[in-house]
Symmetry: C2
Subunit: 341 residues, 2 copies
């Protein structure tokens, strides 16, 4: 390990001066600075993070605690977004995936404390209320994709209501008047919020919201698991005499099953039926034939924004600390929705 002292000896200056160069302290003669910088490069000196952290009693590392987010195809982009945000601040990230286990979570909070992380981004797989169960953490905490039931922390969540609105609005603009909905499990907050979005768009377009045309595509079992029943839901909708010309889906998996149901009934997408996904999981949306028009969950942006808020909380960046940011869900148009008549 090359240390400050080594560099200082080599350069014939005091360690403190090297430290100044490393930290861009302006109070260094330009000549000295250049000479020292050169030696630093030549010797491959890298400042020891531990020593620095100890001296300054705070770390440049941020903790990312996730329930299952780092592990599901849905929402890994939160991780990427968080990292992108941190990179701009020359920071890095300790990641802790709890798999939803309380005990592990406790352990990792301790670990974050031991590492004196500069803050924590707490991300969840689903948009849901989060109960942190750690009241005594001294550093900033920002919730990503979840929100504090007790409003004790700032949160960054997708604008599900807007997303629902966007889905419906797009179909209405294409001329659809009978729109079916195969939604997520009714217990999810996203379902409620998007429902509100649908209604707003429907009202604006002069459509009536018909509850008979909304069917859950996922059903939550008593044990907490979920069953995907979108295929049957879709068959039900599509066999109606007044079958919808378009279906809004709660996510892209539901859309996949709608494609399957349409194929079963000999309906062609988008000629006989338009399908609108949610999430924009590219593995699905770009693999389906025709490719699926969807509304994206802005996970990357959510992660990035969470980092922003965090540095505001810590007072490192200017800007207000808002209690909640809603990140818009953009429409991604592909080939599964067609213009009517």
């Amino acid at each position: 390990m090359v240390t400050l002292k080594d560099v200082a000896r080599e350069a014939g200056v005091s360690p403190k001066t090297v430290s100044r160069v490393v930290n861009d302290d302006p109070a260094v003669n330009i000549e000295t600075r250049k000479a020292v910088a050169e030696i630093i490069a030549r010797m491959h000196y890298v400042p020891d993070h531990a020593a620095r952290m100890m001296r300054m009693s705070h770390s440049s590392v941020v903790g990312l605690m996730t329930d299952a987010v780092a592990t599901t195809p849905y929402s890994v982009d939160i991780v990427r977004g968080t990292q992108a945000g941190l990179r701009e601040q020359s920071r890095t990230m300790l990641i802790a995936n709890t798999d939803g286990d309380r005990q592990q979570e406790q352990e990792y909070w301790r670990m974050f404390r031991a590492h004196k992380v500069a803050g924590v981004v707490y991300a969840t797989m689903y948009h849901r209320p989060a109960d942190l169960g750690i009241p005594d953490f001294e550093r900033g905490i920002v919730l990503a994709n979840c929100y504090s039931a007790r409003r004790s922390h700032s949160s960054v969540v997708p604008d599900d209501e807007g997303g629902g609105y966007t889905q419906a609005r797009h179909l209405i603009e294409l001329g659809h008047r009978r729109i079916g909905i195969v939604s997520l499990s009714p217990v999810l907050r996203a379902t409620v919020l998007r429902g509100a979005g649908y209604r707003t768009a429907f009202a604006e377009g002069g459509l009536l919201y018909d509850p008979a045309l909304e069917i859950p595509g996922f059903i939550t079992r008593p044990d907490g698991g979920e069953d995907l029943v979108a295929y049957d839901a879709a068959l039900g909708l599509l066999r109606r005499p007044d079958r919808p010309t378009a279906i809004i889906c709660g996510n892209d998996q539901i859309a996949m099953q709608i494609y399957a149901a349409a194929a079963t009934l000999g309906l062609s997408i988008p000629d006989d039926l338009s399908v609108m996904g949610f999430d924009d999981m590219t593995v699905i949306t770009r693999t389906l034939k025709p490719m699926l028009t969807s509304v994206a969950l802005p996970y990357f942006e959510i992660g990035r924004t969470a980092v922003d808020i965090l540095s505001r909380i810590n007072g490192e960046t200017e800007g207000p600390v808002v209690p909640q940011v809603q990140v818009p869900c953009p429409l991604v148009v592909r080939q599964s929705c067609r213009q009517l008549g």
Copy 2:
């Protein structure tokens, strides 16, 4: 921050004794130990990681460098597996996602150095040769899902050949004699290895390998991107007069498109056609109707094994440091393949 000294003062012992208790040093009187432990708990003392690390000049943190692995639905499980392995060693993980950018990668190597990580797991999205371009890193490095062209590092990779064998073998055991293959891009190592597996299984089953029945489902563009052409490939195969009774896919996305092609031609799965996926991406395999039989890429195991090897390299665990571990790809049977005859 509660420090050792605080605890020591409170307990009326020396800091060193508290340190001993924290580190389970047996040379502490049982009474003293109990008393101190109690005070530690009461004061919520958490040992400062930075100080410890500085004193002991090595960290309990391992670096995980990925190209895009943390961000793709394919392979996030490497992250989980790595974490699971580390957790058993009471270690944690700094994560660095390079998005394939050399410059970022350099930055993160520096960062790992600064953090004095105990080792690095270098994971890639595809099973491929990796060129680390960092010859002077002092700590152990293990490659996950990739391998060193210069054999300079140990690696943990999926057993693609075995996976291919498993795919073919299962279909042959079900009585299929004409088996089509829609493979990944021919430039991938996985494609070559699995091809070998197919041939072995075919030979064992007394089948002839017919090159006309193997078509790429992905095509690599000159710009490096990939086009998914499995749908057309499948149509080609399925329109042949001697159409195969089963198709082996290079991954589950290909399988999705095969389902679409089959639907187009009015073929029912599995009655008219059996389909065998690869990867076992549950978002796809469990959403398709019927659910897709697939061979899993053991990403979790790969991550976990990489950690194992790492601690062997570092001499923390007994066991040989093998140059390469091939992790088997298990068969996951669902409903897309049927018994013939």
